[in-house]
């Protein structure tokens, strides 16, 4: 008995000693924002999280009185996890931390600098009976003990000594076999992995995070009208697209939010339409009439991976290339009001431009559309994370679209906000978006090229007084060579050449009416009429001096001389220049003459063809004409 009493008092002593090595009660003060200096806590659990494409660790720490499961290890301390110095029960001294408020009123404790006081193996047990601090950072009233609390809340890797009678311990995501349906945590649902969804099995429930959500699209055709919205869903096993039509569309559109997790069941499964989605799944889902959609709290959802971002620095965007899809995170420096525009096709769109900047001291304009544009709040310079924005070469570099998350809860976002507050907001920014600038790249891409038939069909040039511009890839079939040259006044007027057509007086002198002068010389200048055509049609266009010389390969002076002296070679010049192909930039402008309105097409730019790029583009288009081959299929069998 003496031995037992001795043992017991020894244990008590040890307990007291150990509690003294923790800074009891500090967590409540830290989460309130108090300046506490350095403090000691005990690590009770750790979990790897994939966040923003980065390895992050979430910790459950305790000060003996309270525990906090919303603690994140700053990435510079990841090595402490790698070298196993943060095993459970380890006592650490936190030397530097920051407490951040994130969307949803939650407070996150970020541990930035720490050192080990005593390794877990030496401590060997949980000190005290800490009570979980609430997600808003407040301590629960003292009477709420945590003995009955579901050990799975917060999804920590718990010490296994106490939880035998509790609901099944959550297995860390990394060791779970993805293809077996594991009895789920809360909610009473049996969860299946997304990767196991097939048309052959109708009863399944998935627990998935919404990674993207489209606006509601409505249509009204002869065959009927309808509406839908779509979303991308993701869990650890994979991803899948889901669409809700009509009543389900109305019912769930507002409820479903990007970034949140839901139990979803009772959808029909069909083959995926790859034209609308690049997701890696042969199937896609449609909400049935009796679909089940149940929100999952974040605490219960931590095994579902968060959106993975691959952020590019804003300064790197100019290298991204036209039409690249990028993820970007930055502080919203300024934003404009949303505007309503009508496209040429008659569609009404809401558009909003905001400017994002980051610590590379670069800024770029991001265009938001639809409901994203309307909902956006830019008043307090929020951190904006965008997934899947498209890079466009309009006005230098601009971004368009993408899924937008404001003030996201991850390290990158916290760091950006800290940089901004610390003086980033006063920095000089290099703007990638420049008004009126066309950035480099090969002339026009084939998507914006018009065929001549389209130009005629669309009545380009008739719709506006000022003239409309278009680009076409055409071949010159004919030059009106006999009227190509004219004699021009060589006078310099106010630093520029007069160039007006002169009258031939017949005696070796020439009269310029504009300068009111007789001159005894002139300059040959070109005004070419030519026929440009493609496989659809041909059109007459005019081409002036500079471009004409480019097409003929010699100066107007030389062409003029040949016309006077060597008819054969003169004809040959035009013959050589015929049947060459270029990308023509054209201006179509309506001209009214004697009650007759005709559109005149003028060449304002000529680019040589980039055959390699065109061939690559054509191969893609040819392939697409035969139908798109799904990614997983061996292309060589079909191509």
């Amino acid at each position: 008995t003496t031995k037992l009493i001795l043992l017991d008092s020894l244990l008590q002593e040890t307990t007291v000693k150990n509690t003294m090595s923790l800074t009891e009660g500090v967590l409540a003060r830290v989460m309130k924002g108090e300046d506490v200096g350095e403090f000691n806590v005990q690590v009770l659990g750790t979990k790897v999280i994939q966040s923003a494409g980065q390895e992050r660790h979430r910790l459950l720490i305790s000060d003996g009185q309270h525990s906090n499961s919303l603690s994140m290890l700053a990435t510079q301390l990841n090595h402490m996890m790698h070298n196993k110095s943060l095993e459970n029960f380890t006592i650490v001294k936190v030397k530097k931390h920051v407490c951040n408020q994130v969307a949803g009123g939650k407070k996150v404790l970020i541990l930035m600098e720490m050192e080990v006081v005593k390794p877990g193996s030496e401590v060997g047990r949980k000190i005290g009976s800490p009570v979980q601090i609430l997600s808003d950072g407040s301590a629960p009233p003292p009477s709420a003990g945590n003995q009955n609390k579901d050990p799975n809340v917060g999804a920590m890797k718990r010490p296994s000594d106490t939880s035998n009678s509790a609901p099944p311990t959550k297995v860390p995501a990394t060791t779970r076999s993805v293809l077996s349906s594991v009895p789920a945590s809360t909610g009473g649902h049996v969860i299946s992995p997304i990767a196991s969804i097939s048309p052959y099995q109708n009863k399944w429930t998935i627990k998935a995070r919404v990674t993207s959500k489209s606006d509601i699209r409505t249509w009204n055709k002869a065959s009927g009208s309808g509406k839908l919205f779509s979303m991308d869903l993701m869990d650890e096993s994979g991803e899948i697209r889901a669409t809700a039509f009509k009543e389900q569309c109305d019912q769930y559109y507002d409820m479903i939010q990007v970034g949140k997790v839901y139990y979803i069941s009772r959808c029909s499964v069909k083959a995926a339409n790859k034209a609308y989605s690049k997701l890696n799944n042969d199937y896609e889902l449609t909400f049935k009439d009796n679909v089940l959609v149940e929100p999952v709290t974040e605490d219960d959802a931590s095994e579902v991976p968060t959106l993975s971002y691959n952020f590019a620095n804003i300064s790197d965007l100019s290298a991204a290339g036209k039409d690249a899809m990028v993820d970007v995170i930055g502080v919203c420096k300024s934003s404009q009001e949303p505007v309503n525009i009508t496209t040429r096709a008659g569609k009404e769109l809401t558009k909003r431009e905001i400017v994002l900047c980051d610590q590379t001291n670069a800024e770029v304009t991001l265009t938001l559309w639809g409901s994203t544009a309307e909902r956006f709040q830019g008043d307090d310079n929020p951190v904006v994370a965008v997934k899947g924005a498209r890079v466009s070469e309009y006005n230098g570099v601009t971004l368009s679209g993408g899924d937008v998350l404001l003030n996201p809860d991850f390290d990158h976002g916290h760091k950006l906000k800290a940089w901004w507050e610390d003086g980033g907001k006063n920095a000089d920014f290099n703007s990638l978006t420049v008004q009126g600038q066309r950035s480099g790249g090969s002339g026009a891409d084939t998507a914006s090229l018009k065929t001549v038939a389209e130009v005629k069909l669309e009545n380009i040039g008739y719709n506006s007084d000022r003239g409309e511009y278009y680009t076409c890839l055409g071949t010159i079939s004919y030059f009106a060579k006999d009227k190509a040259l004219y004699k021009a006044c060589p006078n310099q007027v106010e630093g520029r050449e007069c160039n007006k057509k002169v009258q031939d007086n017949g005696d070796g002198s020439y009269r310029c009416e504009k300068c009111s002068m007789n001159l005894n010389n002139f300059k040959w200048r070109l005004m070419l009429s030519l026929n440009v055509g493609d496989y659809t049609d041909g059109i007459w266009a005019t081409c002036f001096q500079e471009h004409a010389e480019k097409l003929l390969g010699m100066s107007s002076e030389e062409v003029g001389n040949l016309q006077e002296r060597d008819e054969e070679r003169f004809n040959a010049v035009f013959g050589e220049a015929s049947f060459k192909s270029y990308v023509f930039r054209m201006r179509a402008k309506a001209d009214t003459y004697n009650d007759e309105t005709r559109v005149k097409h003028t060449i304002v730019g000529i680019d040589n063809l980039d055959y390699m790029a065109l061939n690559r583009q054509y191969i893609k288009e040819i392939e697409a004409m035969g139908g798109v081959v799904p990614d997983k299929v061996n292309r060589d069998l079909y191509v």
Partner: protein, 115 residues
């Protein structure tokens, strides 16, 4: 070239040779080695084949590029008999990958257009 062609040229890569045994095909490739009796080339799909020739036949490659178009009669899946060859003009930057895609499309999915 002596025969009159009445149908479109057959353009192939190494993988397609076996389909046209006994026929004359156009092979766009890069010359690796020229001997008296044969020429080793890499086809547009990256695979090597052997072109048999007689000692007095010659394959011209330009100064800057070894890319040629060879017209040959197919003997088997890896061999063909040289009929004629021309260097590809401006050929040092020839985009074999895109050309190969075209060859595949023309011989498989869209072969109707080329028969």
């Amino acid at each position: 070239m002596s025969e009159q062609k009445s149908s479109p040229s057959l353009r192939v890569n190494a993988a397609l040779l076996g389909r046209y045994i006994g026929q004359s095909v156009h092979i766009v490739c890069e010359v690796q080695e020229i001997n008296a009796a044969e020429v080793r080339v890499i086809c547009c799909d990256g695979q090597p084949i052997t072109i048999k020739k007689s000692p007095n036949q010659n394959i011209e490659t330009s100064d800057v590029s070894r890319n040629v178009e060879i017209i040959a009669k197919v003997i088997d899946e890896r061999t063909a008999e040289l009929e004629s060859a021309i260097p590809i003009p401006g050929g040092e930057n020839f985009d074999f990958a895109t050309y190969n895609e075209m060859v595949k499309l023309a011989n498989n999915r869209f072969s109707d257009l080329f028969s």
